[in-house]
Amino acid sequence: MSDVPSHASAVIIGAGIVGNSIVGHLAEKGWTELVLLDKGPLPDPGGSTGHASNFIFPVDHGKEIAHLTLDSQRQYEEMGVQTTTGGLEIARTPERMEELRRRMASARTWGIEAELLTPEEVAELVPFVDTSIVLGAFHTPSVSVVDSLQAGTIMRQRALDAGALTISANTEVLDLETDRGRVTAVVTDRGRIECEYVVVACGVWSPRIAAMAGANIPLTPAVHQMIDVGPIPLLERTRSEIAYPIVRDMDTNMYERQNGGDMEVGSYAHRPILHEPDEIPSIEAAQLSPTQLPFTQDDFDPQMEDALELMPELLDTPGAGIKHAINGLLSLTPDGAPLLGETPEVRGLWSAAAVWIKEGPGVGRVMAEWMTDGVTSIDVHGADIARFTPNQRTNHHVAARANEGFNKTYGIVHPHEQWESDRFVRLAPMHHRTRSLDAVYFEAGGWERPQWYEANADLVGEYGVADRPHEWDRRWWSPIITAEHLAMRDRAAMIDLTAFSIFEVQGAGACEYLDGVTVANMDRPPGRIIYTPVLTPDGGFRSDLTVVRLDWDRYRIITGGADWGRDLKWFTDHLPADGSAHLSDVTSAWTTVGLWGPQARRIASEVTSADVSNEGFPFGTARWAEIDGIRALMVRISYVGDLGWEIHAPVEQGQRLWDVLWEAGRPHGVVAAGGGVYGTTGRLEKGFRLMGAELDGEYDPVEAGLAFPKVKRADFVGKDAYLKARENEPAAVMCSMTVEDHSSASGPDRYPMAGSPLLTTAGERLEDPLGRPCFVTSSGTGPSVGKHLLLGYLPPEQARVGQELLVEYMGERYPVLVGSASRKGLFDPDDARMKA
């Protein structure tokens, strides 16, 4: 047994597709003294890579995964380990046909060639499918099969060739040593390796390894069943590994993939079968491999009937039998996305887990970029391991969501679909009040936030709001949202904003510290509200948020509920080493109620003796005020474009605050309004951008229309890139658009959603000069402008008011007009209402 090096720059644990890709890319970025460990043998150490089906369907509704997959396909192709086979996603039901039309739009968005096929066309490509049960199929010619083990070998070899890598297989990690929150060494059964970086890329074992350093990687091993059926002469005659397109039988959650003379049949339809990372067998004790567990036949029987129904003759070929059957382990996370980036608990300890074969090399690239430059070329905030709230990191939550999410693998998942399990675990202090108003709750940062109130149903008639005629457009939506919005614009609304993430910064160096991580000037008088982008080192959006200067040495940062973990990590990571500024997370200490609308000032004046006049309490300022015995912070700002305040109160007085405002507001017609108004209708009418939708690391403030007239003197993260961006014409411009005609050829009016591709009036796909696709980043009703609104980036030549475009949605196209090519919203563009 050879010993491991005593020192390394980075130790990568896990030699599956992910770990190998990371070492390859790190070496390419100039890293040396890398060590790659695996407790199994090479080239197949026994993890999930070894039993993967290795096929790639590139079309995904989400941008991150689509980009990671496309980049991975490019890398596999370049390594010469990719076979393009084409793939079909088959519909047996009308609902699935509709979903396939939605996939067509996503294919167009990301520029992937695809087509919808009739059953007859399906039969031409895969003659053994019984097309009498098929309604149609989504055909992606670029679907491919890759040799992920060979790809891993090539990636490793690149790092070896660069003289950058030591490989130690059959090496077990016994401990991860840390010192004052930083990882310092990896202890193995072949020796101890001192290092500054450790990357945990060991798939289903990742939680166990990370726990050695006290970090949490929230995933659970889960079973995916597959069988191999053969020999089948029809397939043998092709004399190739794979000659027929891969078939995904979407409505049964199954796939059929030729494997030489056999057909591999896999399933995501069976009951979720979750395992504990500590209970995975060792390599020696496993029958096949640690991640290929004994097949549980009963779970698979119903799927076998489905498969026989789709390919009756082929799978029933005389002499063909089940040659191989496994319960393969893969990693499931609470939200289905990968777990990438530095762990929030331990500096220098990075996670690259819950990654599919289709994303492996792309993840290798972004991990190497992130570790080297602190920024990634593909924005992966949705995969950032820091994204979870503490309750979402518990085993309880992971198991609940993995259980629920498993069968969504091939499911038709509505973009606004809410989880059902492990809900109502973070409740606002006024939860009993909102519940008595029959709130419909959506989850935000783990909190339960009212999206609309059924108690407001009467407003629908009062304001004459029309329902949406198509079920899909209506799902997870209500005309009540529109009515609440109109009531707010008309009278006033109270909005439960408890889900806000709130941090406080204190210390003599607070101003200097914050100035170093924000674009806006933080050296403003106490009482000022400062909106600011937070940039990545290369000038893209890391976050955008508001800061209130409470005192000369004290600031309050208010950011989105879903941004809690990532923003907290970012601000914590940048704290001054000299201790001149401290950061505390006070999210669970403060609740917020929004009060907005023309009547907001009257209501406020009735609950506080503070001066709430425009002169005494101008827009953009914050004041402490006493509200019926509550010491509250009133913040005069608006994300919905109306006069009013965000009112912060201690959590234990939140219900009281709500009651006081409600009592005072009722005579003035106040309504409770939900997140539908706050996050969508009010926001979109004002053209306000949202982190994660309009804003991410791939776009800069100039493109987003959020650059300031002046640049502060202080240095800050991303400043150089920001200065450069300001000098050039933006490659894309964020625009507000309206849908001009909703009528569809198929009948009902349709309301395009986010993700839909934006096209020229000639129907051509739009990309900006940097090759970034143009699509709808947010969409929703604009009740006060009377139009359905879209936000999206457009190339400069299209980013003109009055420009006509098309949006593709569910297989049809709808005319679109650009209404604003700047930060100005379509409603009250001069902000007269909120500054009144």
């Binding site: 059926v229 053969g230 209970e279 995975i280 067998p281 060792s282 390599i283 020696e284 004790a285 496993a286 029958q287 096949l288 567990l293 004994p294 097949f295 036949q297 029987d301 076998m304 009937e305 498969a307 026989l308 799978l315 029933d316 002499g319 063909a320 039998g321 089940i322 040659k323």
Partner: protein, 254 residues
Amino acid sequence: MRLLVCVKRVPAPGAKITLTPDGSEVDTTHLGFTVSPHEECAVEEAVRLVAAHGGSSTVLTLGPLAAEDQLRNAIAMGIDHGTLLPMEGPEWDARAVAGAIVDAVRVLEEDDGRFDLMLFGNESADAGNHQVAVRVAHALGRPVVDGVKGIEVTDGEVALRRAVADGHTVHHLPLPAVAAVKEGLNLPRYPAMRGRLMAKKATIRHVEPRHREGGLRRLRLRAPEQQRTETTVLGTGAAAAPAVADILEEVGLL
């Protein structure tokens, strides 16, 4: 003709067999279950014989309720009927097992007629007792041959090829007879998907076995001491050929 195949449910271990902490059993937490390769061949042979000569086949096992899985796998391969002699608790010794099988065969034959040929695996994968087939044959007064790697049935007689170190011996037995077969008898088929679905619905007959003390009782299982040999690497690829030729000379082969 009527055939009976006897199988035993055993875990399918990996490169290392893990024991329960008290050493009483193999730790099957992570293991699937199967029958020995010998018994897979016995099942295959029964299916082929029925296809060639008509009649029916029955698969029988003594084991826990979960052993129905092994019976259904055999049915998926083409066996017609399954019989379980249900038992729980520690393994029975070979004498007790043989006694229970003999009882069950008498019951089955009483109801449906004599088994012309009874097939066993030469020995089970786990216990390796090498005696159940012979005990059953003796108790029923039927001739038996072990180590069988070839079966040919002609009118009223079966020709068995027994594998021996330097070839085969051929034995002709009158029916009814018993054979303990070895892997290599045939290449077993894989269960068809359709067969599997049919097997799922098949009725498994239960015949309650009577346990009588066999005389051999397990105290514990243990793994042999691992002798860790230090492997000498002779070289890489073609360059290692002379070193290996030296070893051939050393052991007197060259």
